[in-house]
Amino acid sequence: MTTLLADLITLSAAGLLIATFGVVVRRSFIGWVSAYRYQSVVLAASTAVVGYSTGFWDIYAAAVLTLVVKAEVIPRLLVRVTSGVEGDLKMEANPYVSIRLSVLISALLVALSYGLVGQVLASARLDVLAQAYLPVSVSLFFIGLFAMVSRRTALNQVVGLLIIENGLFLFTTALTHGVSLIIEVGILADALVGVVISAILLTRMSQTFDTMDTGSLEKLKDD
């Protein structure tokens, strides 16, 4: 049994990493959303694995919730709300860091997080779950942040935010073996609302200024 568990854990961790890379290579908004959907599915699966290994039923519930909200509701909402935005605005035309370079940097970040977290883990005595998932969650966090840094389009930055949120969720789940369900719901609701609001705002922004280039925000700076 344990070997099955161990395999599942490793598999899900790997799946998460692959999903994250999948986000990084995409250029268009739709592509990002679908990659995010995929990542959320894998995340739900990982959560289920955690629930399986610890035996808490509310982790299963959290997994289902994740699946529903993150894999279905949020992507749909995103697409619906931003349908008013013109297509080419959603295309990442000119990122600060080119796609190829960002893949390399993502790999570096993964290595960095594995190395650093490994050092930290060496001193603390944590079980196998934490050992497997913690580095992944930290790398998710970094990659999400990096994605926000390197993308110009505001919408894509929202997706980066969502990836960070995923990473944090995994972090807490792995470390504390499940957060209380209520808090879980709260966090999800928070993410949901946040996404909706930012999407609406960004739509507005594109309609008013005819651009979603965050670089042009620089013109607001009073020099």
Binding site: L116, Q119, V120, F142, G215, E218
Partner: protein, 692 residues
């Protein structure tokens, strides 16, 4: 004498009256109603405060008023503890607030229509309440809360006439400086907290005897910087001459007269209560205060000497007088560290007497200045003149205030100056040559200050009130309304009483600070003040007894009058009024009169090394070929404020330079900010990882 519980009721009643005065005018409209409803309760409340404070002092026991609601946290302790020292300062607050409140009933009416009198009443009452509570609190947190309330309410009062941009700038300077001071004060209290582990003043007092030297020194210096900023010690005084003139005159009277004393209260509490100077090693702290005080005094009066705005000049004089008070406090610290208890009591008496005096006569002077500004329509002395005939009562009150502040007998300024001089002269008893000589030099600076103060008040009173009016506004000046005169009269009467019957105040101060000095003898309240000396084995007593001096002067006056009458009999002489002799040039006009600037010109030249005046002369001509015929000549001479130019401006420029460079990281792009977050997180993880 037993303190009855009614006394705390007096205090709470006074607070309620102030609150009423704060809230009522916000609901009433109408010129008279809003003014009266704002300040009549304030006057009544001040009277209650005076009675309360006097009863606490006379009874000799302290009062503790606990907050009705239990504090949720130990730090949020709002109970009040009023001992003799607090009561004395409350007395000062009450006396000045009483005269200013009565004065304000008439003064605030002049703002009706242009500004909200209700807001003025609200803020002034809040201001007074916060000052009273600052002196009454017993723990750090409540002290800071009320201190901040005091600063904020006075800030809003300073920018009350906010349509003038100059007032806004002055207000901002004041706000910044007062918060810098508050930061230092908080730091001092925090050091004490670290030492004792508690935030209540009681525990500070208990731990005072066992403080290690480093703690003592740091608390002392921090407190001096913090309270000194609020009190207006040089070099932290730059806000004073900006803020006090900007505020309405009744507020200036309160700020100069009372708020500065609250800062002195804080300084006295910390240096004498929490940081006991009990060994010769602490004497340098007192010497620091003496030198800072004498420098303040001299610089204050030097700047006042060349001012021609009446309120700014009075503000600079406040700096000077605060310096004198701090000199007395510093001497007290020096004497205490050598165990010379009687002399320490003398110096403290001098310092506290001067605090009381300054509150009274500065309040009087600012009130009179407000009356002048109202009557003549200007605060520039070069546009005044001849007001003694047009505003006789105001000029009388201003004269009384000038005589008092110049330290001339028989008014109160002379008594506190006498006491301070006696304390300085007694410094020969300190067994340390360096200290003796330094105090000796400081006393020379002190004497120079007194001489200059006399000169500047000749200018202030003479140019504003005497001779010919220099502008239409001065020509058409009208006397102030009656309530303003009554308020000024109260303060003036206090000046006389404190000068002629010094024992009233000395006994009050002695019992509030808890020393029995044997300074006072004879028949109170008419007895003399006495100080003992020893030299070459001989003992002597220096005494003054103002009532006897007055009696002597009166008899001299009678004798002279008799002599002159007798000697001039045989020919009836008349007194003819005629125009001033003009040397045959024709009728004199305003242009031949001396102005404030010209009157102070010899002093300005004699102290050129201090003022560093810049002069520039500009001539324009009708045609470039002929320089004999000029279209206009203008001569500008300005003296820079030494501290602003050499201390504050360079510091501000340096800070702005550094901040400008730092500003470059603010790119305005979200992405760069996120990058900062990324880098910092990575670095933090790296650091965590590298830690063994």
């Amino acid at each position: 004498m037993e303190i009855s519980p009614a006394s705390s009721a007096l205090f709470l009643g006074a607070l309620l009256l102030y609150l009423a005065g704060a809230v009522l005018p916000l609901f009433l409209r109408g010129r008279r109603e809003s003014a009266v409803s704002a300040f009549l309760p304030a006057a009544l409340g001040s009277l209650l405060v005076v009675i309360f404070a006097a009863s606490v002092i006379v009874s000799g026991s302290a009062i503790r008023i606990s907050s009705p609601v239990a504090a949720p946290l130990a730090v949020l302790d709002f109970s009040l503890y009023i001992d003799g020292i607090a009561a004395f300062f409350m007395l000062i607050i009450g006396l000045v607030a009483l005269s200013v409140s009565v004065y304000s009933i008439g003064y605030s009416e002049s703002y009706y229509g242009r500004h909200s009198v209700g807001a003025l009443g609200f803020l002034v009452n809040l201001f007074v309440i916060s000052m009273l509570l600052v002196t009454a609190t017993d723990s750090v947190f409540s002290f800071l809360v009320f201190w901040e309330l005091m600063s904020l309410s006075s800030f809003f009062l300073v920018v009350y006439e906010h349509e003038k941009p100059k007032n806004l700038r002055s207000g901002m300077t004041y706000l910044i400086m007062t918060h810098i001071g508050t930061a230092f004060i908080t730091a001092a209290f925090l050091v004490l907290y670290l030492q004792t582990g508690s935030l209540s003043f009681d525990s500070f007092r208990g731990a005072a005897a066992q403080l290690p030297a480093l703690t003592k020194d740091s608390v002392f210096v921090l407190a001096l910087l913090g309270f000194g900023t609020k009190a207006g010690l040089v070099p932290m005084h730059t806000w004073l001459p900006k803020a006090h003139p900007a505020a309405p005159s009744n507020v200036s009277a309160l700020m100069s007269g009372v708020m500065l004393k609250v800062a002195i209260y804080g300084l006295a509490r910390v240096t004498l209560g929490f940081v006991l100077p009990d060994s010769p090693g602490d004497a340098w702290l007192g010497l620091l205060m003496v030198m800072a005080g004498s420098a303040s005094a001299l610089f204050g009066v030097l700047f006042a000497a060349v001012e021609h705005d009446i309120k700014r000049a009075l503000a600079y004089h406040s700096v000077e007088n605060v310096g004198i008070i701090v000199v007395g406090l510093g001497l007290s610290v020096v004497f205490m560290s050598y165990g010379l208890e009687t002399l320490a009591a003398l110096a403290l008496l001098a310092s506290m007497y001067h605090s009381l005096n300054h509150a009274v006569f500065k309040g009087l002077l600012f009130m009179a200045a407000g009356s002048v500004v109202l009557g003549a329509g200007t605060a520039d002395m070069n546009l005044m003149g001849g007001l003694a005939k047009r505003m006789p009562w105001t000029s009388l009150f201003f004269l009384v205030g000038s005589i008092a502040i110049a330290g001339l007998p028989p008014l109160n300024g002379f008594v506190s100056e006498w006491l301070t001089l006696q304390a300085l002269l007694s410094s020969y008893q300190v067994p340390n040559v360096v200290l003796q000589l330094s105090i000796g030099f400081s006393s020379i600076v002190f004497a120079l200050t007194l001489g200059l103060a006399l000169a500047t008040f000749v200018k202030l009173f003479g140019i504003s009130f005497l001779a010919r009016p220099r502008s239409k506004g001065a020509e058409n000046a009208t006397e102030a309304p009656r309530t303003m005169l009554v308020g000024m009269g109260l303060a003036g009467g206090l000046c006389v009483v404190l000068g002629v019957l010094p024992l009233v105040a000395t006994s009050l101060i002695s019992s509030s600070f808890g020393f029995n000095m044997g300074l006072v003898s004879g028949y109170p309240p008419f007895g003399p003040l006495t100080v003992g000396y020893t030299a070459a084995g001989l003992k002597s007593l220096s005494e003054i007894s103002p009532p006897e001096v007055l009696v002597a002067a009166a008899s001299v006056g009678a004798a002279l009058l008799g002599f002159v009458t007798v000697a001039s009999r045989g020919r009836k002489t008349i007194v003819r009024p005629y125009s001033t002799w003009e040397g045959g040039f024709g009728p004199l006009g305003v242009r031949t009169e001396y102005t404030a600037s010209s009157l102070s010109q010899p002093i300005r030249t004699a102290f050129k090394w201090f003022y560093r005046p810049h002069t520039s002369t500009e001539r324009t001509y009708f045609s470039d070929s002929n320089h004999m015929v000029r279209r206009s000549i203008s001569f500008v001479s300005e003296t820079k404020e030494v501290f602003e130019e050499y201390l504050y401006s360079p510091t501000t420029r340096a800070v702005l330079f550094v901040l400008d460079k730092v500003r470059k990281i603010q790119t305005g792009k979200i992405n760069s900010y996120l990058l900062y977050v990324l880098i910092v997180t990575a670095v933090l993880l790296l650091l965590a990882a590298l830690q063994p």
